[in-house]
């Protein structure tokens, strides 16, 4: 890929960004390519050695706050048109409750998912406590001379420790997955604000 094609693709994918910000970022990558060419690389090699356009867009999206993207998208170049303002005010009783409901659904979904994960951590913690209780009970069994029940208690210690490790692992994997998914959803949401003009 040539430098111009690379920069044009990047520009079209980031077209929803504020103009100054967009130019800064494009010139940053143009300088990076130029520096590589000066080092003796060919134009194609210099671009091949860089991150892909997708990666760069995703990286930039994670840096820019949502509010800035929405502001840039909503703000018209030549001021607000009167009919748009009137329509916005007249339809306020419809769009505002919908917006609130959408936010509430998203929030409750988030709470529900995290409640499940927290309950998994609590189960893992309670299994650790159960294993401690089993240690005491097993000691008591052996002290009272009930060897068979002691052996049973010994097995219960192992089962509790094993289950607590598995539950902790499951909780960690789920937390990481949810954080990753939330990040991807946020990037996707932000990306939907830019690059439409491409």
């Amino acid at each position: 890929m040539k430098k111009e094609a690379f920069l044009n693709e990047l520009r079209s994918r980031l077209s929803g960004l504020p103009q100054g910000d967009l130019e800064d970022r494009i010139s940053f990558y143009a300088e990076m390519i130029d520096a590589r060419i000066e080092e003796g690389m060919s134009e194609e090699d210099a671009i091949a050695g860089m991150e892909s356009v997708d990666q760069i867009v995703s990286q930039i999206m994670s840096e820019i706050p949502v509010s800035q993207l929405v502001k840039t998208k909503v703000k018209p170049e030549k001021g607000h048109k009167a009919w748009k303002v009137v329509l916005l005010i007249c339809l306020f009783p419809i769009w505002f409750p919908l917006l609130i409901a959408f936010g509430a659904v998203l929030f409750s979904l988030l709470i529900a998912v995290w409640s499940v994960i927290i309950s998994f951590y609590i189960v893992a913690g309670s299994l650790v406590i159960a294993s401690l209780a089993c240690i005491i009970a097993t000691g008591a069994y052996f002290a009272l001379g009930d060897i068979i029940a002691g052996v049973g208690g010994f097995g219960a210690i192992f089962v509790c420790i094993g289950l607590s490790i598995l539950f902790f692992l499951l909780s960690i994997v789920m937390s990481k997955g949810i954080v990753k998914l939330s990040h991807k959803m946020l990037i996707g949401f932000k990306t939907s604000f830019v690059g439409k003009e491409a």
């Binding site: 068979i148 049973g152 010994f154 097995g155 094993g162 598995l166």
Partner: protein, 46 residues
């Protein structure tokens, strides 16, 4: 990732070993429900 894998194996090993020991203990009790119930209820003073 390897660390996670070793923890997973450790958890499974502990769980299976515990289950086997419990099964042995239950067999030694002769699978007597009244005795095992006492054990499950924590009634070790009998």
């Amino acid at each position: 990732m390897n660390k996670m894998k070793s923890w997973l194996i450790a958890g499974l090993v502990f769980f299976i070993a515990g289950a086997v020991i419990c099964a042995v203990a239950a067999a030694l009790m002769g699978f007597d429900p009244s005795r095992m119930e006492l054990f499950m209820n924590g009634g070790f003073i009998h």
